[in-house]
Amino acid sequence: MDTLLLARLQFATTAGIHFLFVVVTLGLVTLLVGLQTAWVITGKQKYERLTRFWGQLYVINYVLGIATGIVMEFQFGLNWSGVSRYVGNVFGAPLAIETLVAFFLESTFLGMWIFGWHRLRRGVHLALLWGVALTAYASAFWILVANSWLQNPVGYEVRDGVAHLTDFGALLTNPTFGMAFGHVVAASLLVGGMLMAAVSAYHLIRRTPDYALHRTSLRIGLVTSALAITLVQGFGFAQFGPVGAVQPTKFGAGDDAQATIAEWTAQFGPGDYTPPVLASVGLGFMILIGLTLGTLWLLLPLLFRDWIIRLRVPLWLILLAVPLPLVAVILGWLAREVGRQPWVAYGLLPVDQAVSPVGAPVMLVSLIGFSLLLGTLAVTNWVLMARHAVRGAHDPALGRPPGPSADVPTEPAFV
């Protein structure tokens, strides 16, 4: 196996796992902000309990977002040193901005939020969650600016074989960016909303005692998902125009694509410049899932007089549909990333020039090691999330008032 293939596999694996967690983060944090704000404004206990329950699941999910994110960040230097060497002057800027503007504050705020219950004033505590949410959106914004630059390099000039930044504004108005950002944010909301609806549906099916609580979260989750799927479809179809215009080889083999390939052959020598079919397969199935999930709207009328709960079948449907948006998310990234092959930076830097000059055995060890490590952690994390989701909202550890508790029987230092 060659180093390049291993490096690509490793990126695809870690990015895929990372994204499965960050879509949930981004979706849930938005809903959490709504819940905690409602609690602070209305003072209703119901919203406090919902905030704690969903906050707990959110925080468990967050762990793997960090763990996989750190691997992603190091991977550019480890496996793709050519990226830093040739296009780092431009591509590095949005990434650096992201870490400073977004991650740094996000984690600082989140630590204070987790440990701030019963210690900080309510307003301050709520402000911290708003801070977490805003910085999470900022991180999605800047990472997509960076990714969009790889899709369609703009605002640079090449001197001595190295790209230099000339126009930072162009990175923000990149045609591959705007609609993609909307699409990703809407997809996160869809994932978060469906997760919330599904966990609530589970408790309603099982008839756990917390009927009123889960009824509320079912409604919130379902309405959010319905609105989100429409946005997902809108931004999704809206991507075809701008992306197709700057990446002629991505969505098909028309005249534009042939002309572009002829140009590249002249400039970079002969080679295979058509992306693998995997990209279009991914695209097709994602759209299929997207159109199917459009039927979420049909469930909304059933909210009237709680028909959705009384009929039960809709609850089962919601529960079984949870994997769909997550699968779609991965398929979408396959379409986007595989569709730009064989380039790291489209039309500028081919993948084989970007990979680090590291031996294949080392790369293989790293691929297997990180896949096993992150895969195991991901599964463990999901099991823990599922257990906590099933356990229900009666006493989550998050936000539990200090003092003796059932969860910690022998605690001399704290009792």
Binding site: S81, S84, L95, A96, F103, S107, G111, W117, A397
Partner: protein
């Protein structure tokens, strides 16, 4: 301009070692602690700071990529196995600390705690080895790439990595002395004091091995600063020991913190004006100026960093202030 960014990079990496250093030190302390309640108390002493500590590493690598892209690629890929090990350690600690209390069974929690111990060890070994690797130079050839990985297998790298584990362990125990409820702090203080001589011995061993290594001697651009490093480390450790004996954990913590920050500063200064010194071709050494991003990128990031860095420090200070003092029954327990 490049110097300012290099200093900022050093600041972030040094802060990471100081702050996450006590996370790892506390993580190591779990190994010798059989009582579940006390293990959990130790982790919750780190509690609200944990997430904010680790993110200094994320930011340091962000700065490395944004402001020194060439160095980023060469450093990380040239030190591949070391970075891999450190990274695996960081991930294990991250997951272990945050997930260990999710299961309710004490046995499962104990297993997670072992994960934390292993992760802390790997992280400390890895970052220590990275700094040592910088100090002994790299086989960077004229084509700009670092060839092979066997250059990392030296006694100096091993000795420095072990010394870093010892420093981190002292730092963590000192942190617990500062932060645990007064009744439990005495035990942590005794542990810290017992660890100080071990750390001094480890630093001494690394120094001897380093002085004996021709590669290290040739790589150092300012040997005087290089020699100052172990002297300063030992001095800091002695200050910590005296302060612990006099029950001044704040002073001791500052001293052990300095012991983790100093290596970054002094390694950077010893190599200056180079970031990577080549052992095979002196023309292939990478200067800090050559490693830096070009003017427009640095200017853009500079305008951004000017208001941002104070804001970042401000929010971290807020976190330390809000959760200052010793832990007690009033604080929620989450980790």
């Amino acid at each position: 301009m490049e110097l300012a960014w290099y200093a900022l990079l050093g600041l972030f990496f040094a802060s990471y070692l100081v702050l996450a250093g006590y996370d790892y030190g506390v993580g190591l302390s779990l190994a010798g602690n059989a009582d579940p309640g006390r293990r959990r108390a130790a982790l919750n002493a780190v509690g609200p700071f944990f997430l904010g500590n680790e993110v200094w590493l994320v930011a340091a690598v962000g700065i490395l990529f944004g402001a020194f892209p060439v160095l980023e690629g060469e450093l990380l890929s040239g030190f591949y196995p070391i970075v891999l090990g450190a990274l695996a350690g960081v991930i294990l600690v991250t997951a272990g600390v945050q997930l260990r209390s999710r299961p309710a069974h004490e046995r499962v929690r104990a297993r997670w705690d072992r994960v934390v111990v292993v992760g802390s060890t790997l992280a400390a070994l890895g970052w220590g080895a990275l700094l040592a690797g910088l100090l002994q130079g790299v086989p960077r050839h004229a084509d700009g790439h670092i060839a092979g990985l066997t250059h990392l297998l030296t006694p100096f790298v091993a000795a420095a990595a072990l010394a870093t584990v010892a420093l981190v362990a002292v730092h963590g125990a000192t942190f617990l002395t500062l932060r645990l409820p007064a009744a439990d702090a005495a035990g942590a203080g005794r542990l810290a004091r017992r660890l100080v001589p071990v750390a001094i011995a480890a630093v001494g061993a690394a120094t001897v091995v380093g002085l004996l290594s021709a590669r290290v001697r040739e790589t150092a651009q300012r040997p005087a600063l290089g020699v100052l490093l172990p002297v300063a480390l030992v001095a800091a450790l002695l200050v910590a020991r005296v302060a612990l004996a006099r029950r001044r954990p704040g002073v001791a913590f500052a001293a052990t913190g300095a012991a983790l920050a100093l290596p970054v500063v002094l390694v950077g200064a010893t190599l200056w004006p180079y970031a990577l010194v080549s052992t095979v071709d002196s023309g292939a050494s990478l200067t800090v100026a050559d490693a830096a991003a070009s003017g427009p990128t640095l200017r853009l990031l500079g305008w951004l960093a000017l208001p941002l860095v104070p804001a970042l420090l401000g929010f971290q200070l807020m976190c330390w202030w809000v959760f200052r003092g010793r832990t007690d029954g009033r604080a929620p327990v989450y980790w």
